[in-house]
């Protein structure tokens, strides 16, 4: 009898000392998850960190639906605050370590959930990992405008640019839909980034072109490499060792005909929406000549194809000279034509 009483007292004392239940301790898990979910939904930032830290130790897919939604909602709340540079109450007090770990707890858990809602929320978290960037890229059109907005806001532009390149590659390699409008957004974003000297844009455009998998962009990659060499950009090494080899390998994998067709697609995208003026004339001529070159290549007439492509390259440069094309557009078209010629 005495031992029983003593045992109960000892257990009570042990419980009193135990501020947080150990994993597997005799406690109803649903209750704990409910408390942690509540903290995540409506607590102070310190409360949210505690609740999320405990939830992150569990199997994300086993969490109740309400908890999963709370994780996604909190990730979205933080992401929007970061993108729009709005203060997050408690972040400064938490410090970089605490706030950074909290953000990673949210992003990792959301990635493991794999639900459509979580995937959408992860678009703004593409800065976390290549895996999350790929998850966002798979969403195609649904992700492109968000990514472009991130770049405009200068919010994690490296990850956003890289994800644009991955989206292009995913659509081309799997047949997943990616609209021309989205592709135009991607090309314009790459052009703009190639002229931005800040490190994250320099790195981002290099990574995007590394993953894009389309040899039509090799001339642009070569141009930014040359520019980096001239300006002493520290990402020259990345362009040389990663970006150019990746696109060169992509070029070597396709036939000259396929390469010409890729450039033709780029011409169509660049010229879309052009309805008048010298630019319209240049676009029509370039498209027609490229179509003719492709017809020669399909028929096995390499010499006539090379002649047409050489003329096409000069025409692109002429269009640049009169302001009908930008430097980047001319680089892509003329360079695309010449890299086909070089392989005939």
């Amino acid at each position: 009898m005495r031992r029983t009483s003593l045992t109960l007292a000892l257990f009570a004392l042990t419980a009193a000392l135990t501020a947080t239940p150990a994993v597997g301790a005799a406690q109803a898990p649903a209750e704990s998850i409910a408390v942690w979910t509540q903290q995540l939904q409506s607590g102070t930032l310190a409360d949210r960190v505690h609740g999320m830290g405990r939830l992150a130790g569990l199997n994300p897919r086993s969490l109740p639906a309400a908890t999963q939604q709370a994780v996604v909602a909190e990730l979205s709340r933080i992401n929007e605050a970061l993108e729009n540079n709005v203060p997050v109450d408690g972040a400064t007090a938490l410090g970089a370590e605490g706030f950074g770990e909290y953000y990673l707890d949210l992003a990792r858990t959301a990635r493991s959930l794999g639900t459509p809602e979580a995937n959408r929320a992860l678009i703004l978290s593409v800065g976390v990992s290549l895996g999350i960037a790929r998850r966002a890229a798979r969403q195609g059109d649904a992700a492109i405008l968000s990514l472009a907005h991130m770049i405009d806001q200068r919010y994690e532009p490296q990850g956003a640019l890289e994800t644009l390149g991955l989206a292009w590659f995913w659509a081309d390699s799997t047949g997943a839909p990616l609209s021309d409008a989205s592709r135009v957004v991607i090309v314009r974003a790459l052009f703009a980034a190639s002229h931005d000297p800040s490190p994250d844009f320099s790195a981002g455009v290099g990574a995007a072109l590394r993953w894009i998998g389309d040899p039509a962009f090799l001339p642009l990659a070569q141009a930014i490499t040359d520019q980096a060499q001239a300006s002493g950009n520290v990402f020259l090494g990345y362009y040389r060792t990663q970006t150019l080899p990746a696109l060169t390998a992509a070029l070597n994998k396709v036939s000259p005909l396929a390469s010409a067709i890729r450039t033709r697609r780029v011409v169509g995208l660049l010229c879309s929406g052009t309805v008048s003026g010298p630019r319209q004339g240049a676009c029509e001529s370039l498209a027609n000549e490229l179509d003719a070159a492709i017809a020669h290549l399909r028929a096995g007439r390499t010499r006539p194809a090379a002649n047409v492509l050489e003329g096409l390259a000069h025409r692109a440069e002429d269009a640049l000279a009169i302001g009908a094309l930008t430097q980047d557009e001319a680089t892509l078209i003329a360079g695309g034509a010449r890299q086909v010629i070089a392989r005939l």
Partner: protein, 549 residues
């Protein structure tokens, strides 16, 4: 560990360890049993008291109050079954460090020391009622362990020195040589926390110890009086002992199978076999008294004073004691205090008792079961609710050690940012080490192409044990499920490269995202939101960090 109570006329003895058999030595009886002859041949003075087992050992003296001494072998080996007396003599002197005073003007360093002592014997600083040290502090003592092999850490049987008096210049303990050999090791925890913090709040905070330590202490072992291989009876005729009781205790399952130290944790629910069961065994003579055996458990004053909160062991010659998990609030909130291992270890002292037909109670010598350093750090994962089997497996003993990366770029000082540094105990998983080496190689390639001077990159923050992560970081409580706790994260210094820190931050980002590295990365906006500036780059390899689509 054995002793003889001549007045009462019975032997009491205890043994710690699952594979240890202590011969019962009955002298001057018809069926006399003697200890086996020494496998080391005839010892110098075998069977006679007072002969040394080796030259005296100079116990290393720490340079400062915040330093301890890693396990070091004394070179003294006690043959199996032989009983020796171990003596430690000498004082340590603590003087205020002028450098600390210069950096932090008076009243620092303060307090002077636990009990305001400046000269302390081998027992070290003992817990005294000193509110400046949270009511008491233990440290600086000479700890001696006996192991059965040559592999540190040697936390096996710990010798119990007496007197436990900080002012005593000489302390002694007895030890019985374990088979195949009983090697003595010395460890010394840090003395007490006192320092002057410099550059607090910056990426490179340092602390200057408050005291310098000098002095000399010597350890020696001598054959105990009447003990050991000789087996003689000092004063015949000796009456045969009417009752004997010998208690043993050992951890069950994986602890006893994989750990020679008899260590344990409170983990029982998901591990097979459980690590939280200590098996107690008593040998009683005459055997008909066996059903009357009871067990008592007491707190071990050398370690965390928790045993009174545990349920008592069962009764009988084969009893069971189950270790219950405690909770986070018992752990040191202060990093310097947390550097001392002993106050954090769970340790239980057991005694077995039996009442004879005359109503007399016979009690065994106490036997102690103490967590070793590895299980102490694993206990943190239990009590902080870390290591869910789904998200991250509960760490095994093999996960912890002073592990360098295969390429040799990072050593223990780089990889271990936790509280267990002397000796280094930390977790560094292959995914992280391989990833860091991959980043290093890729950086070398990029720098070579750019003709930049390459010296690699340095880690400013590596492994953090849960206590350190939750309690000791500058931002206060951090309950996040950080990858630093699982040996899967590194903070990288960005201010020591041939380019602006913000540029190298981006370089780290492209390295982290590379195929073959596949790390997670803390975006710049997240760090800036909390710190207002980029002061480091964080990479980790937790689950969901891969590069798959």
């Amino acid at each position: 560990m054995t002793g003889r109570d001549a007045a009462q006329g019975w032997w009491v003895g205890v043994v710690l360890g699952s594979a240890i058999l202590l011969p019962l030595v009955y002298s001057c009886t018809a069926d006399e049993r003697l200890a086996p002859p020494s496998p080391f041949g005839t010892l110098r003075g075998d069977g006679q008291a007072g002969n040394p087992f080796g030259p005296p050992f100079q116990v290393p003296v720490p340079a400062t109050n915040d330093q301890g001494i890693s396990p070091v072998t004394t070179g003294i080996v006690i043959p199996p079954g032989v009983v020796a007396t171990v003596t430690v003599t000498g004082f340590l002197h603590y003087t205020v460090n002028g450098a600390a005073v210069a950096a932090c003007p008076p009243p620092l360093p303060s307090p002077i020391s636990p009990g305001d002592l400046s000269v302390v014997g081998p027992a070290g600083f003992l817990p005294v009622n000193d509110p400046r040290f949270n009511g008491g502090y233990r440290g600086g003592e000479v700890e001696v362990y006996e192991s059965t092999d040559n592999n540190p850490p040697p936390y096996g049987i710990r010798l119990q020195f007496q007197p436990q008096d900080a002012t005593a210049g000489t302390v002694t303990a007895t030890v019985t040589g374990l088979p195949p050999l009983g090697r003595l090791w010395v460890v010394r925890p840090p003395s007490f926390p006192s320092s002057c913090g410099v550059n607090a709040g910056t990426p490179n905070p340092t602390s200057i110890p408050g005291f310098l330590v000098s002095g000399s202490q010597t350890l020696s072992a001598d054959l105990a009086s009447g003990g050991g291989g000789g087996g003689g009876c000092a004063m015949p005729p000796c009456p045969p002992p009417p009752v004997t009781i010998v208690g043993t205790v050992h951890g069950s399952g994986s602890v006893s199978a994989t750990n020679p130290n008899g260590s344990f944790t409170a983990k029982g629910e998901t591990l097979t076999p459980a690590e939280n069961v200590l098996k107690l065994h008593a040998t009683v003579s005459p055997p008909e008294l066996a059903p009357r055996v009871t067990w008592q458990v007491k707190p071990d004053p050398q370690h965390f004073p928790i045993p009174v909160l545990q349920p008592p062991p069962t009764s009988g010659t084969d009893a069971v004691f189950t270790v219950l998990p405690l909770g986070p609030i018992r752990w040191p909130m202060d990093h310097l205090t947390s550097l001392a291992l002993a106050p954090k270890q769970l340790s239980f002292v057991f005694t077995a008792s039996v009442q004879d037909d005359e109503g007399q109670t016979h009690t065994s010598s106490p036997v102690t079961a103490t967590q070793d350093g590895i299980d102490t750090i694993r206990e943190e994962y239990i009590e902080f609710g870390r290591g869910d089997p789904v998200a991250q497996d509960f760490p095994t003993r093999d996960d912890f050690g002073a592990r360098a990366d295969p390429a040799g770029h990072f050593g223990p000082d780089d990889l271990n940012s936790g509280d267990y540094r002397d000796p280094h105990l930390y977790w560094a998983q292959d995914d992280m080490l391989d990833g860091l080496d991959g980043m290093w190689d890729l950086q070398a390639q990029l720098y070579a192409t750019d003709h930049l001077p390459f010296n690699g990159f340095r880690i400013s923050g590596g492994f953090r044990n849960p206590v350190h992560h939750v309690f000791h970081l500058p931002g206060g409580l951090d309950w996040s499920n950080s990858a630093h706790q699982y040996g899967l994260a590194a903070d990288i210094r960005i201010s020591d490269q041939p380019m602006p820190p913000a540029t190298f931050f981006v370089v780290v980002e492209i390295l982290a995202r590379d195929i073959g590295v596949n790390a997670c990365f803390e975006p710049a906006a997240v760090i800036i939101k909390a710190a207002k500036t980029l002061d480091h780059a964080h990479v980790d390899w937790m689950n969901a960090c891969g590069s798959n689509w």
